[in-house]
């Protein structure tokens, strides 16, 4: 079975400071990992994904994430946070090889960036 844990319900940072949103996963094979962001009353927007290759992946809006197989983690990072980054962030995983194409999501982390 595949699962994701986001250990922090909330993350608060000052604008201009680094932002990290934590994610750990559990799979039986190799993971495909995704980050999504959700703004109020909006659908989930895709940020980035890790499939294979370089452990550091870069995505939209200056976000990046680092895949760490030994720690089964895929933390989302941004070097300098903006007030507009305030939103709900979800990590998701899909196990491979598998015929299941569904994503399993974490419970989400609310990010608040203060001016």
């Amino acid at each position: 079975a595949q699962s994701v844990a986001q250990p922090e319900d909330q993350v608060n940072v000052a604008e201009g400071n680094p932002l990290t949103v934590k994610c750990t996963y559990s799979v039986s094979g190799n993971p495909y990992l995704f980050w999504y962001v959700q703004y109020p009353n909006r659908g989930l927007q895709f940020l980035l994904k890790y499939i294979t290759g370089d452990n550091l992946v870069k995505g939209s809006y200056g976000f990046e994430a680092e895949f760490n197989k030994s720690q089964t983690s895929f933390h989302l990072k941004k070097p300098s946070a903006l007030v507009s980054d305030s939103a709900l962030y979800f990590c998701a995983v899909r196990d491979t090889p598998s015929n299941d194409y569904k994503l399993s999501f974490g419970a989400g982390t609310t990010v608040t960036v203060r001016a």
Partner: protein, 115 residues
């Protein structure tokens, strides 16, 4: 280009009534997914279509829930004899194909309230 669209955006119904929720995927996307998001939680998988057929319906909570995609494009999620516990945001997503490397693109969701 146009993203995933869902109608209605909001639906209020009485307990015991029947509802239909519609999803229009991104043009050319062969894979379509339905998820349900309850307050304070991440999306939970309901059903997945590859083309016209339901490839995985393991997430449907019971036989009151049913979904169709008759022409391989638009999908309808149908809920019979609605219960208050069905209240949630129902999200639809599509991807280019069912290969796990492709990210899923989400619609804005339908907020269902059962009174």
């Amino acid at each position: 280009g146009a993203g995933v669209s869902q109608t209605p955006s909001n639906k209020v119904t009485e307990k015991g009534k029947y509802v239909e929720l519609r999803c229009d995927p991104i043009s050319g996307h062969t894979a379509l997914y339905w998820y349900r998001q309850s307050l304070g939680q991440g999306p939970e998988f309901l059903i997945y279509f590859q083309g016209t057929g339901a490839a995985d319906d393991s997430g449907l909570p019971n036989d009151r829930f049913f979904a169709v995609r008759p022409e391989g494009s638009v999908s309808t999620l149908k809920i019979q004899r609605t219960e208050r516990g069905d209240s949630a945001v129902y999200l639809c997503a599509s991807s280019l194909n069912s290969g796990g490397t492709y990210e899923q693109y989400f619609g804005p969701g339908t907020r269902l309230t059962v009174t």
